[in-house]
């Protein structure tokens, strides 16, 4: 499992040096070359697309795109959701009521469709996707963290800190946050895979990453029409998504079992 994750992270970090070819500029004479073992050569191990771009190189660069989007999106959604969850759980009352209603509403919205709409109205871009991911994720964190805070704030050390005259901010940052950290970390790890899937889906529909950036979902979309004659164009990027998400989900499950076994499976 770790091997798988490492195998994913290395090409993502080093695509600029390791990738054998330019991911964006192709060479027309080399177009639609099949993968090695299917009549191709090692030169283009996973074949080339319609514009003669090397699939392997594009997949490696695509890893960078996928990972950076999901990490940025999870950070943004996680920070926002955690902050609101802390406020709701710690102060209770009106703030709690409002935040939890917002959570309910967010969770009741068909988020992918809103993502589509947003992408269309403000145009597809890296930033749009981050906003979409943030919107989809924050409610989950808020709800989970709030639940955690509710139980933590009843514990002795919080009462002691309060008696000792610590400010609310200090109690939250020094006492409550560290105790909720496991939940947050596990949740984040469990989310990486699904965020990659979300980004790939949006890119596939043409409302995610704009061309010609090598995003996996886009590559599958590009290869879709050629599935009969040049199957490798769509097949390998999709396989890359599958393996990546598979490995990340395993990692997430493992982290949950280690750090926070009470967190329910989904």
């Amino acid at each position: 499992m770790f091997v798988l994750v490492v195998l994913l992270v290395i090409p993502a970090l080093s695509a600029d040096w390791l990738a054998p070819h330019d991911p964006i500029r192709g060479s027309i004479p080399d177009r639609l070359k099949p993968p090695v073992f299917f009549g191709g050569t090692w030169e283009f191990a996973l074949g080339t697309d319609r514009l003669g771009r090397d699939i392997l190189s594009r997949i490696m660069h695509g890893a960078k795109v996928s990972l950076s989007i999901s990490i940025a999106g999870i950070l943004a959604g996680g920070v926002l959701g955690t902050a609101l969850g802390l406020i709701a759980g710690y102060f209770r009352g009106l703030a709690d009521a409002i935040i939890m209603r917002l959570v309910d509403i967010t969770m009741a919205l068909p988020s992918i469709l809103l993502a589509l709409v947003l992408a269309v109205t403000v145009g597809p871009s890296f930033q749009t996707i981050i906003v979409v991911v943030t919107f989809v994720l924050w409610a989950l964190y808020a709800r989970q963290v709030r639940g955690e805070v509710l139980s933590i704030r009843e514990r002795d050390f919080v009462a002691r800190a309060r008696v000792a005259g610590a400010s609310d901010l200090r109690i939250i940052v020094r006492h409550i946050l560290p105790n909720a950290a496991n939940t947050i970390i596990v949740l984040a790890t469990l989310q990486v895979g699904s965020v990659i899937l979300l980004e790939a889906g949006l890119s596939f529909l043409g409302v995610g990453i704009p061309r010609p950036t090598p995003a996996w979902g886009l590559m599958v979309a590009d290869g879709r029409q050629l599935i009969v004659s040049a199957w490798w164009i769509a097949f390998f990027p999709g396989l890359a998504i599958t393996l990546t998400v598979f490995a990340l989900n395993l990692l997430g499950d493992w982290m949950r079992d280690r750090l926070d076994p009470r967190l329910k499976e989904v």
């Binding site: 919205l109 992918i112 269309v120 109205t121 009969v228 999709g238 599958t242 499976e265």
Partner: protein, 306 residues
């Protein structure tokens, strides 16, 4: 229970209202919708006339209430792309196809996931459980659009067993339903399994066995009715995600439903249709959740008798 359902309904209404605000805001985010409606050579007088006609000179909140009033009557205006059709009419026309495919996918995935999840818990740590886990992990890792393409490639293009795309007989539904449902099967199965494991370990299951209840009944009646509560809360999410998933799947399989309509409308910047689709999807999603809440109350007497 009445109280509980009333609260849930009110919450749903609130969510629907939020959706309508978003749908309304959508058409104003990209500038005046008039631009989209005008022919390229129209002069400013024409634009002013349309602005007046559509009430776009009113304050924003008044415009919203007009929009809301119209939306409540199913009036989202005329489609820009499909001349001569109303936006809501188009959605209604395409909805049955989506419900057919989505419903089929939900039913099939439930029929598969529930028993497999139960048996995986009963036969924990056996090869059956491991196989189930692998299928689930795969289902949660494969992007549905890619799975759809690969299925077409194998079963339609190579083997010629099933049609590649379009709506037709039963055989047309099989591939899209698999592509759509596998992820749900995975999620549903894992939830059922973990809920069952927890329940099977409980004292009341021990007591049922002590009473002499046969093991089969212990599992499928005593344990399952408890364990079903957890996956059921997730069922609304599943139903919703099947609907949103239809956007992708209908594109891949050229299935003429609302998902495909949505994508076509988005590509053609046909805002009335997009608004109609968003509000309709949200409505369906919310109704599905309300049904789930009702079922939930039925299953769990602790809620029923609140």
């Amino acid at each position: 229970m009445k109280r509980y359902l009333v609260i849930r309904s009110l919450q749903s209404l609130l969510a629907l209202l939020a959706i309508s605000v978003i749908a309304f805001a959508m058409s104003h985010l990209t500038g005046s919708p008039v631009d989209a409606m005008l022919p390229d050579d129209a002069g400013p007088e024409e634009a002013a006339r349309l602005t007046k006609l559509w009430g776009l000179d009113l304050p924003l909140y008044e415009q919203y209430f007009v929009f809301l009033g119209n939306a409540l009557q199913g009036n989202f205006g005329d489609s820009i792309k499909w001349q001569g059709q109303t936006a809501f009419g188009l959605v209604l026309e395409r909805l049955p196809a989506t419900i057919q495919l989505g419903g089929f996918a939900i039913i099939v995935s439930t029929i598969i996931a529930l028993p497999v999840g139960v048996l995986a818990a009963v036969y924990k740590d056996t090869p059956f459980d491991s196989a189930g886990k692998l299928v689930a992990l795969l289902g949660q890792a494969m992007p549905n659009f890619w799975l759809g393409i690969v299925l077409i490639w194998i079963f339609a293009v190579h083997l010629h067993w099933l049609p590649t795309s379009g709506r037709g007989g039963f055989s047309h539904m099989i591939l899209p339903a698999i592509a759509m449902g596998w992820f749900q099967v995975a999620a549903f199965m894992r939830l059922t399994r973990s809920a069952m494991l927890e329940v099977l370990d409980s004292e009341y299951i021990k007591l049922a066995r002590i009473k002499g209840v046969p093991e089969r009944r212990v599992i499928w009646v005593h344990a399952l009715k408890n364990a079903a509560i957890a996956p059921l809360t997730y069922f609304g999410v599943i139903a919703g995600s099947i609907f949103t998933g239809s956007v992708v799947i209908e594109t891949v399989f050229a299935w003429p439903g609302t998902g495909l309509l949505a994508i076509d409308a988005i590509r053609g910047r046909d805002f009335p249709v997009i608004q109609a689709v968003v509000v309709t999807f949200a409505g369906v999603f919310i109704v599905a959740n309300l049904i789930v809440d009702t079922l939930y109350a039925y299953l769990d007497p602790r809620i029923r008798y609140q």
